[in-house]
Amino acid sequence: MTFVAADGAGPSIERGTRRIRMQQGVQIALLIVLLVLVAGPLLVLLCTSFSPEGKLPFETVDFSWANYVDLFAQSATIGLIWNTLKYAGGSVVLALLLAIGIAWLTERTDMPGRTVARVLMFSWMAIPPLVFGYGWILLINPSNGVINNFLKSLLGLDESPLTPYTMTSLILISGLGLTPTAFVMLSGLLRNMDPLLENAGLVLGASRRTVTQYITLPLLRPGILSVGMFLVMTMIQAFDLPLVIGLTAQIPVMSTRIYTLASPEVGGLPNYGLAAAFGIMLLVMATLLMWGYFRSIRISERFRVVSGKGFRPRRLELGLWRYVAAAAVALYFFIMLLPMLNLLWASLFPFYRVPTLAQLFSVSLEAYQNILEESVVRRALVNTVLLVLVSATTVIVLSLLVSWYSLRGEGRLGKWLDTLSFSPIAVPPIVMAIAILLLYLKTPLYASIGILMIGHITVYVAFGTRSMISALVQIDRELENAAIISGATWLTSLRRIIVPLLWPHIVNCWLWLVAHSARDLTFPLMLMSTTNLVGASVIWMVWDYPNLPGAAALSMLLVLGLMVLVVPVQIMTARRAEREI
């Protein structure tokens, strides 16, 4: 589209081309913004990984393999990769087993309380992994863990039987925390499976068990496989739990290794070159997994058994077993809530006391009061609000525009925008964080809250764009054309037609972004300075100080804030889903 007003064209034509110019101008601006956001940091990361030891990016143009030689010469590297894979694999297997079991119960049986279970699972994103980890440390630490104390007095032991600081504990805790994510991805799969396929088996005389073995499971296998791949990918990037548990346990994984290289203990010098090389390695691993994931999705598309709304899911009648099932699911949620209860307890006393009934009458909000009096904390709270509002809103605006161009735009530019905005999905946040650190190290942006915004916008724009495209694709193009024909400009048609029609979706997506931006620890910690502390990083700092009640109080405030955002939406969605079935 290169038509412009030409010779002899009157003023009306001159004005008329504004729509095209505006549209193209915005598109080019968008392309530049995304290039700087996405490609810029990764390029600097690559350059840094190839620069000589001890040099910062932009300081040198020399090329050197030193960092990679270093990386592969270290015998620890093999152990590191092994740890990462063991950690990711173990927690994903646990999460999948639990999630498949619970999802089957909530979606395919008449278990009582299944709606509550579903809402709880979907609301779990309000609990940051960091907070979950601290809760477990309170529960099972060897010195005064509540469960350890209980077991010691019950069994008459001298030593604490449990500890969070082993690989097994790390895997168990991460697996438990990952289960809701796995559930969210799997429940739709189970719910939408056409029961006719199963009924056909039953009608043909097969037993329930044969049907499960030969029809249900094989049909679900590709879906479960692709969900598993996706989860492994998220877990090799996971940072929060390996940091709060794994570092004390001295079980480094790739993500925490990048962190310790870039922000060493007091006195050490950061080794950005080696951190960048690790980052590139993690990026390669994640990209390979992403490729495998998309391949497996394509395979599972072939097995698609989703057939729209034209059927009523067949629920298996469990009989009396349904109470057993409900009890088992309740036990799972009890285990999930224990650490949160322990944290809540810790936040109710100015000094941590091991929970007993007698103490229950001396609870107070003193810890909250004390911690909120700290100016650092107050500043962090303001920063958090700024960070989540700015990044979520910017991501929405960028995603809306990118999805418009990729669906409605003419020519290749739209597709480029689409690819560019989607590519960060393969970049682990920890890698993006180190890359952004390297790019902005020497700029005034480095110590500001702005750099956290940039980081969050970059990593979440992929989610935002996918989500917006899936919504925009359902809006008939004629609705927009009707506005243009009525004389509206492109911007007016976006503002008056597209945005209002997408509004419920935009709100949902915005809340997701706010929740994830608020709970993220990777960027706040990797890019931490005295002036850009936010909720997650200040909790980490206060815990480390150590001020346990303060950290617990802040955790509770963060969780409460997130729940206010997340839970109402989940309850509304669940109600709507119940009505539709």
């Binding site: 038509f3 007003a5 034509i13 009707a482 024909i485 004389g487 400009t489």
Partner: protein, 375 residues
């Protein structure tokens, strides 16, 4: 009012080939106040042509003139975008904005247009237009709470409220049920004729085209194959495709034995006199004959173009019998009076009036199997 000259538009295919020609070499003019119809089967390029006139698609080449102003010209690289063209348009899906009331939908062109003027009374204009489409009582309704026919009227009101110079209608009746469609057909034509607004109408339904238009452009595979008033296009089809598309017709393969004013052809059942034609002697042609053009004779009459036929099958349609008859080796369809109680196997005499037998050239693309349709 509008002139379209040598319009061409092609779409890139998935595999990155040269692309499919959606429209090529389309030219026509529409006089002021005329009701002009683009008619053709799906994929013939009629909608693409309309979108090009609207400015929603950019043609590859050609020129479009509107109200004396060039709005598109590939040679001068000039393109006036849709929102500057002063047109009204209704869409196949109606495209009523579901988040607005009926009033807000109709008021949109007055409020949010680039051309919006401050000196007009929006409320009065909208209500006047809603009155025109008999929806004044529905102004404050949320637009999803409307029936298909009402949505159609809202779309029409929205297209007319800003008094555009040109009205474009993209298959406006195709989503209505049959009864409503019949009523709307009459109403729509009356409305635009009273307003005197120039209208370009796209449809695949020949009945709509015949009953509503002043001019029809019959399109096929991206080209205009015949252009003229409805009666002409129906009675004097230029090609076998035109004949077939405009309604049921008998296509009799034949060879020309005499040309000019007294055209005669040789068919499977003998020599047939036809309407004057310029087809050269010896060429293979089709004779087009509508079923209702054939005159059944009560008794045998001698004369040219009278043949004996035998009834093979009968379909009772209510107001007539549609009979499948055979003259020698040639099968024909003919309409018979329901009160005559014809029977299968009966013989009867048919007159094929010469002035109703149109000769059309036989072309390769008339073979139904060889038809390629651009999409």
């Amino acid at each position: 009012m509008i002139a379209v000259r040598d319009l061409a538009k092609s779409y890139a295919t998935k595999h990155g080939n040269a692309g499919v020609n959606a429209v090529s070499g389309v030219s026509f003019t529409v006089a002021k106040g005329e009701f002009f119809t683009l008619l053709g089967p799906s994929g013939c390029g009629k909608s693409t042509t309309l979108q090009c006139i609207a400015g929603l698609e950019t043609p590859d080449s050609g020129e479009i003139e509107m109200d004396g102003e060039i709005v598109f010209c590939s040679r001068r690289r000039l393109m006036v975008p849709a929102n500057r063209r002063n047109i009204g348009m209704t869409f196949q899906s109606y495209a009523i904005w579901p988040h607005m009331t009926v009033f807000d939908n109709v008021a949109f062109p007055l409020v949010h247009s680039e051309r919006a003027r401050n000196d007009i009374d929006v409320r009065q204009r909208v209500m006047r237009t809603l009155d025109l489409v008999k929806l004044a009582d529905y102004a404050d309704r949320p637009s999803p709470h409307l029936s298909g026919g009402q949505q159609q009227r809202v779309a029409l009101a929205r297209a007319l409220v800003h008094e555009p110079a040109l009205l474009l209608l993209d298959e406006p009746l195709s989503n209505l049920d049959a009864k409503l469609r019949d009523a709307m057909r009459v109403e729509l034509r009356q409305l635009v004729k009273t307003l005197g607004i120039t209208t370009v109408f796209v449809t695949h339904d020949q009945l709509e085209a015949l009953s509503m238009s002043d001019q029809i452009a019959l399109m096929r595979a991206g080209r205009v194959v015949q252009l003229g008033p409805p009666r002409d296009v129906y009675l004097r089809p230029a090609t076998a495709f035109a004949a077939d598309f405009m309604g049921r017709s008998n296509l009799i393969p034949a060879r020309v034995v005499a040309s000019g004013a007294a055209t005669e052809v040789e068919t499977g059942f003998g020599i047939l006199r036809c309407a004057p034609s310029r087809a050269a002697v010896g060429t293979q042609v089709h004779v087009v004959l509508r079923p209702q053009a054939i005159r059944p004779l009560p008794i045998r009459q001698a004369g040219p173009n009278v043949f004996e036929a035998r009834i093979d099958a009968l379909h009772f349609l209510g107001d007539a019998f549609e009979a499948q008859v055979r003259i020698g080796p040639v099968e024909l369809r003919v309409m018979l009076d329901v009160y005559l109680e014809p029977g299968i196997g009966q013989s009867l005499w048919l007159e094929l009036p010469a002035d109703r037998c149109a000769v059309v050239e036989h072309t390769a693309e008339d073979d139904p199997d060889a038809t390629t349709v651009a999409r």
